[in-house]
């Protein structure tokens, strides 16, 4: 059932439906902007920041797996690369974190390009394993070079300096939140435009049948590289934000290893592969759930894993499959 909210079937209602939809989107956006502001609670704001941040990571992940069928199983390593780039550039070379965001994007893009290049001939599982080992190599390199990165001791990262008179000192969560919303809006707009362009079609062709795609004269190589590079660039930018917002980085598996990749992958899958926006919704759902149930400890992750298994087996379209009931 690939029907879009039934609108195409009833053209007379089309107009009403679009207005209705626009209204709903407006409400959601208003909630997104106003809730942390109105609630005036640091806790709510940090939860919103985590939710949007991981929703963004998951949406970018979706650009790779959901649209082009490229599984990046070392994704957390890419995030580490971005986060450490910006942090270390500031620490060792005094590069402004604002520039650091871009720098992180470019370094990640380079790593993404390199990954795409070395795994040109690989698909599916092989690609998953290749990226997994690349991600782990990044993480272990960070933990093995404590002279530069402080390794497992943890690296303190400066907050963003003030810009346009907006103060970003630590603890000023609301400003960080709105900064993230701006970054997120740009990234989501860009990705939505991308997947709806001819590139998006090429990505999907790549996912469905690489051989046939090649025979249609679409260069799988080119689009694979493009997809990986763009996704990595965007990851780097969000990762840079992550570093300066969080203030401390350490290359533990929980932060930059498999558990983190699994978390993001779960958000993507629960949101529904190939939907981009679904990831944001499930980001709120899962991160909200996670924060709310901190007291549950390990049960939280058990539920996470069960949820992933459930989605794989019985709800293969994720939240997007529920859309027709609630949206």
């Amino acid at each position: 059932m690939r029907q879009e909210s039934g609108g195409t079937r009833r053209p007379s209602f089309l107009r009403a439906l679009t207005v209705w939809r626009a209204a709903k989107i407006a409400v959601l956006v208003a909630l997104l902007i106003l809730v942390p502001y109105v609630s005036d609670s640091a806790f709510i704001t940090t939860v919103f920041i985590s939710a949007v941040m991981f929703g963004l990571f998951a949406a970018i992940y979706d650009l790779m797996i959901g649209y082009a069928g490229l599984i990046n199983f070392g994704y957390a390593g890419f995030i580490a690369a971005g986060a450490y780039t910006s942090a270390l550039a500031w620490l060792h070379f005094g590069v402004s974190p604002w520039l650091g965001l871009l720098l992180a994007g470019f370094v990640c893009a380079a790593i993404g390009f390199f990954t795409g290049l070395v795994s040109l001939r690989l698909r599916g599982l092989y690609l998953a394993l290749m990226t997994f080992f690349i991600g782990e190599a990044i993480r272990f390199t960070i933990s093995n070079t404590p002279d530069y990165t402080r390794g497992m001791l943890g690296l303190n990262v400066a907050p963003f300096p003030s810009i346009f008179g907006i103060d970003f000192s630590r603890g000023n969560y609301l400003n960080y939140y709105y900064l993230l919303l701006v970054i997120g809006a740009v990234i989501m707009t860009f990705m939505t435009a991308l997947v709806n362009s001819k590139y998006g079609l090429a990505f999907q062709a790549l996912r469905e049948d690489p051989l046939a795609t090649e025979s249609l004269g679409i260069s799988t190589t080119r689009y694979k590289l493009l997809n990986f590079t763009i996704a990595s660039f965007l990851t780097g930018i969000v990762a840079g934000f992550y570093a300066h917002y969080l203030g401390i980085l350490s290359p533990t598996p929980q932060e930059f290893g498999v558990p983190r990749t699994v978390e993001i992958l779960t958000i993507t899958y629960v949101g529904g592969r190939g939907t981009l926006w679904g990831s944001l919704f499930s980001g709120f759902l899962l991160i909200g759930f996670q924060e709310y149930f901190r007291a549950l400890g390990a049960w939280r992750l058990v539920l996470f894993g069960c949820l992933l298994i459930f989605v794989m087996l019985y709800a293969r379209r994720g939240l997007a499959g529920l859309k027709k009931y609630v949206w």
Binding site: V118, R121, Y269, L308, I309
Partner: protein, 302 residues
């Protein structure tokens, strides 16, 4: 580092032996992983958790019930076999039925979910304390200048024994031959009346049991705790890739190779670098020889 230490033959022999012992266990684990992969195409990421459960089974039998450790190995094998069968019957088979062409990638993600669930259930049930057995058989033997504890000797002997038994099982028994046939041509196996779903179930159970045995045997080196499986599973996944996916003897050889690399890097560099070196090696092999170090092309010779 002094060059003289680097070249000291006794130290080299000692380090090689360490590597051989760890490598034999990686080989044993990789064996199960490769078997499952070769037959079913499923890359089982929860293999490390099977290892972990094996270690707990060993601890339960050998320490809590104070029974001979050999029963612990048996218990680990039996428990994991049954567990593997259940996982295949419930999860993997359902997925194979429900997902389409790309189900293998989904199966990989599914086993990741399973990994998270098992790890954290173990954490909730057993806590994060390391539960080890200091020694299984006290004492050791002297081989020239090298002192080899009985435990390590046991690991080495057991690994060789189990791999040989596996080889005999696959080559000479009815189920073993059915497994080989299903791996080489599932459709043809079906036309001969072989129930390939049953073969898959057995294979998964067998692979899980091998991981469980490795976990049980290694308890004196890797005490049981919830995330103990992560290090071995990475090594064995690397071994499976290096050996050529689905190439069981290749995976064993690569497992031993990785054990040696681990021992040498730990000795000559900081221990953290072994992971980087393993990863770089795997990445290089995937670039240059995607079908593994020991296979000339996909599907050629097991």
């Amino acid at each position: 580092m002094e060059l003289s230490i680097l070249l000291d033959p006794f130290i080299l022999a000692e380090v090689s032996l360490q590597g051989l012992i760890r490598g034999s266990m990686y080989g044993l684990m990789a064996c199960g992983l490769s078997l499952i992969f070769g037959l079913m195409g499923v890359k089982n990421f929860s293999h490390g958790e099977f290892f972990m459960l094996g270690a707990y089974a060993m601890f339960f039998v050998a320490v809590i019930m104070d029974m001979p450790f050999i029963l612990g190995i048996g218990a680990a094998a039996a428990v994991l076999f049954v567990f593997g069968v259940l996982v295949e019957r419930t999860l993997i088979r359902t997925l194979r039925r429900r997902a389409g062409r790309e189900w293998l990638l989904d199966a990989f993600v599914l086993t990741i979910g399973l990994m998270v669930v098992l790890q954290n259930l173990a954490l909730l049930t057993f806590g994060s304390t390391r539960r080890g057995v200091p020694t299984l058989i006290p004492g050791g033997v002297e081989i020239g200048p090298i002192w080899l504890t009985n435990d390590r000797l046991l690991i080495l002997v057991a690994a060789i024994l189990i791999v040989s038994m596996l080889g005999v099982f696959i080559r000479y028994t009815r189920m073993g031959k059915a497994m080989l046939a299903t791996g080489q041509h599932p459709e043809a196996a079906q036309t001969l009346g072989i129930d390939i779903n049953r073969v898959y179930t057995y294979t998964f159970g067998l692979g899980a049991a091998l991981a469980g045995i490795a976990g049980a045997l290694l308890i004196s080196i890797f005490p049981a705790y919830p995330t103990v499986g992560f290090h071995p599973v990475i090594k064995s996944i690397a071994a499976v890739i290096l050996g050529g996916l689905g190439n069981v003897p290749g995976a064993i050889a690569a497992g031993v190779l990785l054990g040696l690399i681990e021992a040498y890097t730990t000795f000559f560099l900081a221990s953290g670098w072994q992971h980087v070196i393993t990863a770089v090696l795997v990445v290089l092999v995937l670039i240059v020889r995607p079908y593994g170090l020991f296979s000339s092309a996909k599907g050629e010779r097991p």
